[in-house]
Amino acid sequence: MSSEFTKLFELFIAASIINNFVFTRFLGLCIFFGVSKKMETAVGMSITFTSVMVIAAALSWLAFHYVMVPLEVTFLKIVIFIGIVAAFVQASDTIMRKVSPGLYYKLGVYLALISTNCIIIAVPLINAGENYNFLESLSFGLGSGIGFAIALVLMASIREKLELADVPRPFRGMPIAWITTALIALAFTGFSGIITL
């Protein structure tokens, strides 16, 4: 039991820090660069993303193991997963708007960005590919979400500081953000080897 728990914890740490989606798996870069300009948006995005990722992981796992595997339609996983994510996002958009308009105004704007984001669709695909069980899938989804949140918040705080920096003109904005990411990734290599799954 405890080793089971350790495995989940390790999976979580590995997904969030060591194999960070942004710095080592290069997923969600578009969102990462797109919304890390201001801390406020970064935080809103992080919350929305993490929750959607966990739920998408759960829903997709259920669909994969109880529908697609028995029906032998796993080759359709891309179509189905994206359908699930899109449907879920659409549903939560509608529900949030009705149930909690305040929260909707805070986080709803980010929902629209989610359905076409690779990081959300990557979680179910990796879960399916690695054959994780249900809890592992959840833990991986949560870890990935938190890892993405860490990356976003870090980057937002750095970019707010870079706003004040005297960066040479051709490098202002995106290029320096990439170079900063390169250096963060460099620092993150220090974690390699902590957990080998």
Partner: protein
């Protein structure tokens, strides 16, 4: 009802996709593969081809079907079309390029979420004739392919001292270039370099501010 469309040169559409609206360097979207698969030219090229194929086919399909798609459900329909074509490429690659598929398989599947593809379908193909849509898709896909090849050219040369697997430089390679850091660094430096050219020779402002998914 068909509105009389302005005549657009096919060549212009292709050039536009490669230079002015280059997905990676100018629009700064669909970035993930630019790092993930560019540690060798082969991987970069294959993913570029996959994107080129999907982009062109999606644009063509949308261009053909645009009159039959109800505007209110167009986005889900587009998504369906995209994921269909991605599945095709996914299975083709899995069958015919096994070695590479092991490394870049995930990223092939991820093409489904590329904003650039949806964006072109929405902004261009749904409003233009099918032949224009085809060439727009071709140009945009080519731009993507070229960008990936440029990035992977530098990374493979610097990081392994090889090109397409053939040894070129015999000095000790900069191992870091094939690692994540090197990928981000090369893209950042190239972006800065292209901005510099744009500012220096074309009086542009550089493409710093853009960014999307």
């Amino acid at each position: 009802m068909e509105l009389p469309e302005e005549k657009i040169s096919y060549l212009q559409l292709i050039k536009n996709g490669i230079f002015k609206e280059n997905t990676i360097f100018r629009l700064v979207i669909s970035l993930c593969p630019s790092i993930a698969v560019t540690n060798s030219i082969r991987n970069g090229f294959l993913l570029g081809v996959a994107v080129l194929f999907v982009q062109t086919m999606v644009n063509t399909t949308v261009g053909l079907l645009r009159h039959f798609i109800h505007p209110r459900i167009r986005i889900p329909i587009f998504m369906l079309i995209i994921s269909g074509w991605v599945s095709v490429v996914d299975m083709l690659m899995a069958a015919y390029a096994r070695e590479a598929y092991k490394e870049i398989g995930l990223y092939i599947q991820i093409i489904v979420a590329f904003a650039s593809i949806l964006a072109r379908a929405e902004m261009f193909a749904s409003k233009h004739r099918v032949d224009y849509s085809f060439f727009d898709g071709l140009g945009s896909g080519l731009g993507f392919l070229i960008a990936l090849v440029i990035i992977s050219f530098f990374r493979e040369l610097l990081g392994r001292g090889t090109l397409l697997g053939y040894p070129i430089v015999h000095a000790k390679p900069l191992l870091i270039m094939v690692m994540p850091t090197g990928g981000f660094l090369v893209v950042g430096l190239l972006m800065g370099f292209f901005n510099w050219i744009d500012i220096r020779f074309y009086g542009g402002k550089g493409a710093g501010g853009a960014g999307g998914h």
